[in-house]
């Protein structure tokens, strides 16, 4: 992975820069010891690492503002970091950059059940936002699978999704307002407890901008009352194509499940060996979950099962208890872990039109043979967000490169059939250079022009999102 060469002028001024940061932050909030900064050298895309110049852990919006003002004056790049769970390298530093971690900012600032929102500092984890409103039976809907660890800051940066966004939407659909610090230290507020912020939709623009437009320190999030209950049904089919048709028919029938998850045979076998959830050994498996009262769940499942039967399922397993529901979800939830037991893996995130599912799965199978690397598919079928997991051996020379080449081919295929490179993980460094397959130069130029407005010196989260060749001129001009 190419990264721009660090600016030697910044490296040589490290002591001064760190001293200035120390002058605006408490002593323990500035980390510059080369051993300690190693903790920030990568995120969950561990194949790529680079220790930062230093890391800072501000505890308030004012401290974030002070840090950014210093970095702006010094011309030092800043890499904002939530919990470091990005699978796309969204929080990977460069050697001349300061990591700005928001982990110390994790307070709940306001909870309002009547108006159905919560205001939090963005270092708070996704799960603990729901946790904060659980006693009143409310929850925060977006549920990325890293929700135990991932921070709201990163969720906003990447516009994170999750298994249940078929019904509840992704982060951008649940974000009401932000307090954000601009690269020059200015603090702005957009939106709030009301719906639809005034003026141009800057809130929508910031969500998913991968920390390149500002550092969001506070967020107002929509919270929802929990449904009375939820229950999954598991169904197995003897071909991916049939399973794909079943998904389509369920959606067309007007029943809106909260989740439709899909696993293919390699993934089913791996999870079965790992978790023993009792999944049938079949070509394709669907888990469909519905919500409501007992009667409502019954009625919805009855219709879903009737649709499934028209596709001759090899297995139909309706959950009869909380225990059985947990067992149905067990395999799906351990899928990534199970694949990890077999080998190192790379998790992709392309989205395709649901109708293209059978074709794309077939082509992935063919490519798997061509590249000589196994791949398992587990994904959110209702919205076409695929997660092919390519297995490789990190210790085998050339395997990572082969895996990346395979991954790139799959993503190109996703774009070719009318989809996109990434549905919920973000571009980061991982898919940066593939952006040209989805966008024409003009389409990228207008996005970069947006960054020019927010961050004219191109200091925030450098070398992400845009192909280096496309953003070179701007970075050089800014230096």
């Amino acid at each position: 992975m190419d990264m721009p060469a660090p600016n030697p002028a910044i490296l040589s001024r490290k002591a001064q820069i760190v001293a200035r940061l120390r002058s605006v932050l408490p002593a323990d909030a500035v980390i510059d010891d080369p051993v300690e900064t190693r903790a920030y050298e990568c995120d969950a895309l561990t194949a790529y690492r680079c220790p930062p110049l230093a890391a800072v852990l501000p505890a308030s919006t004012e401290e974030v503002s002070a840090v950014l003002r210093v970095c702006h004056e010094e011309g030092v790049p800043v890499v904002p970091r939530g919990a470091g769970t990005s699978l796309a390298g969204g929080a990977m530093p460069t050697e001349d950059a300061i990591i700005l971690g928001v982990a110390r900012m994790n307070e709940v600032l306001e909870t309002d059940y009547e108006n159905r929102f919560i205001r939090v500092q963005t270092g708070r984890t996704n799960m603990s936002v729901s946790g904060a409103v659980e006693e009143e039976d409310f929850f925060y809907a977006p549920d990325p699978s890293s929700q135990l660890a991932c921070a709201i800051a990163g969720n906003i940066a990447m516009n994170s999704g999750g298994a249940h966004c078929l019904k509840y939407g992704v982060t951008t659909n649940n974000l009401l307002g932000v307090k954000m610090v601009m690269m020059d230290g200015e603090v702005v507020e957009i939106g709030g407890a009301h719906l639809d912020a005034a003026g141009l939709d800057l809130l929508g623009l910031i969500c998913g901008s991968e920390g390149q437009l500002g550092v969001v320190t506070e967020a107002t999030l929509r919270i929802l009352r929990k449904p009375e209950g939820a229950r999954p049904v598991l169904m197995g089919f003897d071909s991916n194509e049939v399973a794909g048709h079943c998904v389509s028919d369920i959606i067309k029938a007007g029943i809106l499940p909260v989740a439709i998850e899909f696993m293919d045979r390699p993934c089913i076998r791996a999870t079965e060996a790992f978790a023993g959830a009792g999944y049938p050994d079949c070509e394709a498996l669907l888990i469909v979950e519905v919500e409501g009262s007992e009667e409502e769940i019954e009625a919805q499942l009855e219709r879903i099962i009737a649709i499934a039967r028209t596709h001759n399922p090899v297995e139909l397993r309706e959950s009869g208890s909380a225990e059985e529901s947990a067992k149905i979800w067990l395999g799906r939830k351990s899928a990534f872990g199970a694949m990890g037991q077999i080998n190192d893996y790379m998790c992709l995130d392309g989205t395709i039109p649901v109708s293209q599912l059978p074709l794309v799965l077939r082509r992935i199978g063919e490519m798997s043979k061509d590249f000589g690397l196994d791949v398992g598919n587990v994904f959110h079928a209702g919205d076409g967000n695929m997660h092919p997991l390519i297995l490789f051996d990190a210790n085998k020379p050339g395997d990572l490169e082969k895996c990346e080449a395979f991954g790139a081919e799959i993503l190109k295929l996703c774009v070719e059939v009318g989809g996109c490179l990434t549905g919920e993980h973000g571009v980061g460094i991982e898919k940066r250079d593939l952006m040209v397959t989805q966008y024409e130069p003009g389409d990228l130029e207008i996005q970069m022009a947006v960054k020019d407005v927010f961050d004219p010196k191109w200091l925030l989260n450098p070398a992400k999102v845009f192909p280096l060749a496309a953003s070179d001129a701007r970075r050089i001009a800014a230096e």
């Binding site: 059940y113 009547e114 108006n115 159905r116 999704g161 951008t172 659909n173 702005v188 507020e189 957009i190 709030g192 407890a193 009301h194 719906l195 639809d196 005034a198 003026g199 141009l200 939709d201 800057l202 929508g204 623009l205 969500c207 998913g208 901008s209 449904p227 389509s248 959606i251 007007g254 809106l256 409502e296 009625a299 989205t351 039109p353 649901v354 109708s355 919205d383 076409g384 967000n385 009318g418 490179l421 990434t422 549905g423 919920e424 993980h425 571009v427 898919k431 952006m435 989805q438 966008y439 024409e440 003009g442 389409d443 207008i446 996005q447 947006v450 960054k451 020019d452 407005v453 999102v465």
Partner: protein
């Protein structure tokens, strides 16, 4: 000017010598009046892709909304966000287009459950102020590839680009709907009941209050048995004694709320406020209890103020400034709309960002200049 395709549109924008007034069907005459040559997107019409099984539709920006609704209804589907028809309130003629809906981010009562128009918008194609054809997003439901300019374009009122094509997520029409109606309620009691309903597990898809008659409405949709169940539960909990409207009677009621029909016909200035729902009673009181339609559980207030003087601008904006939210003058004479800020004035740093974005998307400042302020 009325281009017949995207290429013609791009050529016309590139060749423009002065300001352009961008319109779709011309039914939403909102914003500061624009002096410029009229450029209509109505010629960019037609549904180019519709996949009912993927809940996706792609159409030219000039496609009549009615055509889209008819195509969707053929597969028992609809636009989830229930866009308002502004002709009723504004007294305009013409044919609403899907591009106009997206450009103005027009959403109706179901916004509280399924999000706004911008939340259903999956992709856009547009022509920027230099005549360049650009695209963002696509036609899949989850897409975080690059910056989300789809959201930015939705609600930018043609000031950043002229939409040529939009891609939307659609929704299945549920089997049944029903509405609970409470009467003779104070604003405070009504909003409290709406909040309780919206905070219940019963998946409310509409929650409104009309000051006339103190009437409050709560809608649920879904499978028939489920609708009945939820109606009964709410009658037992937060809507005791409320009457039930079903089927077409319920649908008609919500069309009236969606189109703000109770405020049509007068010559008053009409304001649209987006606020924290529980602030609604205080806002109404402070503004002298004007005739109002409160949607979104109280979070969206439509109210009529006398057209004289500043049309109530100072008073409306003062209360919004104190309690939070924003206000738009949706209906007013040309003179009034030239004299007061139609859209909520932005704080200085945000105004600078908006100005910077406009300068990048429309460097010559020819696309609906001044419409948003």
């Amino acid at each position: 000017m009325k281009p017949n395709n995207e290429t013609e549109l791009a050529e016309m924008v590139a060749a423009a010598k002065g300001p352009l007034q961008i319109i779709g069907g011309g039914t939403r005459d909102i914003g500061a009046p624009v002096d410029g040559d009229r450029l209509s997107a109505a010629g960019l019409s037609g549904v180019s892709l519709y996949e009912p099984g993927a809940l996706t539709l792609v159409a030219g920006a000039g496609t009549p909304l009615e055509e889209i609704e008819t195509v969707l209804a053929g597969e028992n589907q609809r636009l989830a966000f229930e866009p308002m028809d502004h002709r009723v309130l504004l007294g305009t003629d013409g044919t609403p287009t899907i591009g106009g809906v997206v450009a103005a981010n027009v959403s109706g009562p179901r916004r509280i459950q399924v999000g706004a128009c911008r939340d259903s918008a999956l992709g856009v194609r547009f022509v920027d102020g230099t005549g360049q054809i650009l695209k963002n997003g696509g036609r899949v439901m989850k897409n975080v590839t690059g910056y989300d300019l789809v959201k930015l374009m939705a609600g930018s009122w043609g000031t950043l680009g002229v939409l040529s094509e939009v891609s939307l997520k659609v929704q299945a029409i549920p089997e049944a709907e029903a509405t609970l109606v409470g009467r003779g309620l104070s604003a405070r009691d009504a909003i409290a009941a709406l909040s309780a309903a919206l905070g219940s597990p019963f998946d409310v898809s509409g929650a409104a209050f009309l000051t006339d008659g103190g009437e409050a409405y709560v809608r649920v949709e879904g499978l028939a048995d489920s609708v009945n169940y939820r109606i009964k539960r709410m009658q037992a909990e937060m809507c005791a004694g409320w009457e039930v409207l079903e089927g077409e009677k319920s649908a008609e009621m919500w069309r009236n709320i969606r189109d703000v029909s109770p405020l049509s016909g007068s010559h008053d200035a009409i304001w649209r406020l987006s606020v924290k729902p529980t602030d609604a009673p205080e806002i109404l009181q402070e503004l002298g209890d004007p005739k109002a339609v409160c949607d979104w559980g109280g979070g969206l207030i439509w109210l009529a103020m006398s057209e004289g003087g500043d049309g109530g601008a100072a008073r409306v904006r003062a209360v919004v400034a104190r309690l939070g939210g924003h206000a738009t003058l949706v209906r007013g004479s040309d003179a009034l709309r030239r004299n007061v800020d139609v859209f909520q004035p932005e704080a200085a740093p945000l105004a600078a960002i908006s100005k910077g974005l406009r300068a990048r998307f429309d460097p010559r400042g020819i696309l609906n200049p001044g419409l948003m302020g």
